[in-house]
């Protein structure tokens, strides 16, 4: 009970920080919009190919924009060693981690919703909004994987002298199964490919559970040094 309560307090703190400072989510939204514009030039998207390209474009945007956002939220903890006041409070390392995962998850999902809407508007692909109920489990499992790994690794990366720049090098190779699962299952859903996304959702769920358990075991070593 206390575990969840503490985690939600951390989440509330991050939401408040975002409302006051607008440092993480707003940056992510702008970046994803920029990505959409660049992809438009780079791939020459039109009505014929949009459905085939959509899942690839969207997951590239989710991965890279997510790195920026998660790097930011952990940087705000490292600034002036702010996280130390949480470490010294009665909040356990595990609930601190859970709270940061929740806030990263929330911001990432908001960014993804925003990106999906703008994708539909800019590329005339309203179909994707109608398919949201089917896409929801894909987005949830994929984003949970991003948040679980990203929260852990952004704390590692921001402690080094390279700062957030190091995050993609640590994070991207590890989340390959999630990106693969996200792209493939979204592609299957959008283009009605045979087989259904079930197997991919399983892979993402296994990955999420594995990372949840490892991170809960290891996170204390990252903040209690």
């Amino acid at each position: 009970m206390k575990f969840m309560h503490d985690a939600v307090s951390i989440l509330r703190k991050d939401i408040l920080l975002e409302i006051r400072g607008k440092e993480s989510l707003s940056l992510m939204l702008f970046l994803s919009l920029l990505f959409l514009v660049i992809f438009n030039f780079a791939l020459d998207i039109d009505k014929e190919n949009v459905s085939l390209l959509a899942s690839g474009i969207l997951w590239v945007i989710f991965s890279f924009t997510g790195i920026l956002g998660m790097g930011r939220t952990s940087m705000s903890e490292r600034d002036e060693e702010a996280y130390l006041s949480i470490v010294f409070s009665p909040v356990s390392a595990e609930s601190f981690y859970a709270g940061k995962v929740l806030s990263n998850l929330l911001f990432l999902l908001l960014m993804e919703a925003f990106t999906l809407v703008f994708f539909a508007v800019l590329f005339d692909f309203e179909k994707i909004i109608g398919m949201l109920p089917q896409l929801l489990p894909v987005l949830l499992l994929g984003t949970l994987g991003f948040a679980l790994v990203g929260t852990l690794f952004s704390f590692l990366a921001t402690a080094s002298r390279y700062g957030e720049v190091l995050l993609p090098f640590l994070y991207l190779p590890v989340v390959v199964p999630v990106i693969l699962g996200g792209v493939s299952s979204m592609d299957i859903i959008l283009n009605g490919k045979p087989g259904g996304p079930g197997r991919w959702l399983q892979i993402m769920a296994v990955f999420d559970m594995l990372y949840l358990s490892i991170s809960l075991l290891l996170f204390r070593y990252i903040i209690e040094d």
Binding site: A159, S160, F169, V176, P177, R199
Partner: protein, 224 residues
Amino acid sequence: MKTNRIIIFLFLSLLILMPLDFFLIFRVAPTERVMGDVQRIFYLHISLAMAAFLSLTVVFISSIIFLWKKDLKWDTAASVSAEIGVLFATLVLITGSLWARPIWNVWWTWDPRLLTVLILWFIYIGYFLLRGGIADRFRKAQYSAVIGIIGYVDIPVVRYATKWWKSIHPLLTKQGGGLDPVMKKVMFFSMATFFVLTVFLFLFRFRLARMEERLLILKKRMED
């Protein structure tokens, strides 16, 4: 002193084993029917892969023991093993590519096995980037142990995911089983040689790293 003697012994045996291994590979092993001489690269490729896997397993185990015991000796063991693992993994990718050019007609293909090794390689490059970026000795050890553990656990998931990803596409090749008995023996000898090489490199590098650390401590004491 005892380690010194073991290192010298391993070095001397490698002076015999390595040339013998190459002699067996190029002179004794029969030429493969379909692939011809190119197949000989397998003896090195598979031995290197085994050595890389062995080294990264040492990284994983040493990282766990470090987090448990908090003894920097284990971090040194993990980091020198990671160096050896990355070296061998790089050679695995290069030898694989050299073999693939004449046989598959491409330098690279997005086969699950290749992709898994490439991602493994990226993870351990990240391991060194992180180590290079943290000055505090203990923190460096603690953080890289986290990567050492996660990277190792991630590999089976990557392997499974990429396999499933490719299984939707047609399979590019299937490797034929059933090795000739002489080939088998040469393969075994080659793997044994590379096992000795890995142990030698590990002990040699580990001793060097420990000496570097001792030197650093002495220097600091002199300054004080």
